[in-house]
Subunit: 170 residues, 2 copies
DNA sequence: TACATTTGAATCGCACACGATTTAATCGAT
DNA sequence: ATCGATTAAATCGTGTGCGATTCAAATGTA
């Protein structure tokens, strides 16, 4: 990508805006399904990390979702109000708040399991092939690594948690 | 293929979350450059549409950015306070509010022109090739079409404004 | 052991997003 | 021409995001 071709608006408008728009539209696709569970998309992501990894600190959740306490603390309080999670100071390190699932939170996982399938169904329109999505996902993943490293001001790939929900299988 | 491995979890967690995360990280990349101009990323997108198309209604801006008046009205009022735009009811249709650039808003374009190049520079790290980005952009574009059609509940591609900023060149 | 530094959450203020509703203007079928 | 339906903005309430700051706990170093 030479400077010459960039003049006005390549990555800028060709990628950044569509990414921003697609992200919002996808959240809207989830909304009706998540409404049935009574949670929002960001809250769903927190639940996903808890279902996958179990009890963990606010900081750890933040590293996995690329969010910080200023966003997570209020969000977690809302999940707590809904009796889906519990928050408790760690006995070992009083600075740390450990987040864990309640029974109600664990039970929600069963209902939530249907969601991915229902989302994929709604994309089953042959416009985009599975292979295309696969390639797309790989680049998206790389992009996330680059962006995350820019943000942290280093060149290590180590910073990306490969086990973050949705970043790697399993 | 067991339920566990079904591509279901695929689009869901493999694409949706990274898309959400990448979108936010990209906004953060823009922040320092936009700070120099005193505007936010969504405000920058509105300015882009005005620079590209000139005077247009709130509804039209919304169609181009996939936003509605509940988001745009307050945002436009902030741009108006900054003396970058003007808002005026249309004489022809009193329901419509026409948004246009002030001189200050027009002048900002010159400064803003540098931004795309500076953004692209920060991606010039060889991790992602130009071809990869090109393919990525194509799929992203298709995705946007599919998502937008889902949202509007029809199968026409016509709904997507191919001239939306960043969706197609020129 | 003191004590400055670092760290993890929380808090604060502002700006989106967006579902739902309201208001005013226009359209359209009779 | 009338009046119900539609349309464009605005308004309202809730929930993120995030930069900046605060606070308390833990850490490192003299």
């Amino acid at each position: 990508m030479t400077k010459q071709n960039v003049p006005e608006l390549y990555l800028d408008n060709q990628v950044c805006f569509p990414l921003y728009a697609a992200s919002r539209l996808i959240t809207k696709i989830y909304a009706p399904y998540l409404n049935e569970l009574g949670i929002t998309y960001p809250q769903y992501l927190v639940m996903l990390t808890l279902w996958q990894y179990g009890e963990q600190s606010v900081k750890t959740i933040g590293e996995r979702l690329y969010l910080e306490s200023n966003t997570l603390t209020p969000l977690l309080k809302r999940l707590e109000q809904k009796k889906l999670i519990m928050r408790a100071r760690s006995k070992i390190d009083e600075r740390t708040v450990l987040v864990s699932l309640t029974n109600k939170g664990r039970e929600m996982k069963e209902k939530a399991k249907e969601i991915p399938g229902r989302i994929v169904e709604s994309f089953d329109d042959k416009t985009i092939t599975e292979e295309e999505i696969s390639i797309f996902q790989k680049t998206l993943f790389k992009l996330l690594v680059v962006l995350n490293n820019k943000r942290n001001g280093n060149n290590l790939l180590d910073n990306l948690d490969l086990n973050a929900p949705g970043l790697a299988p399993r």
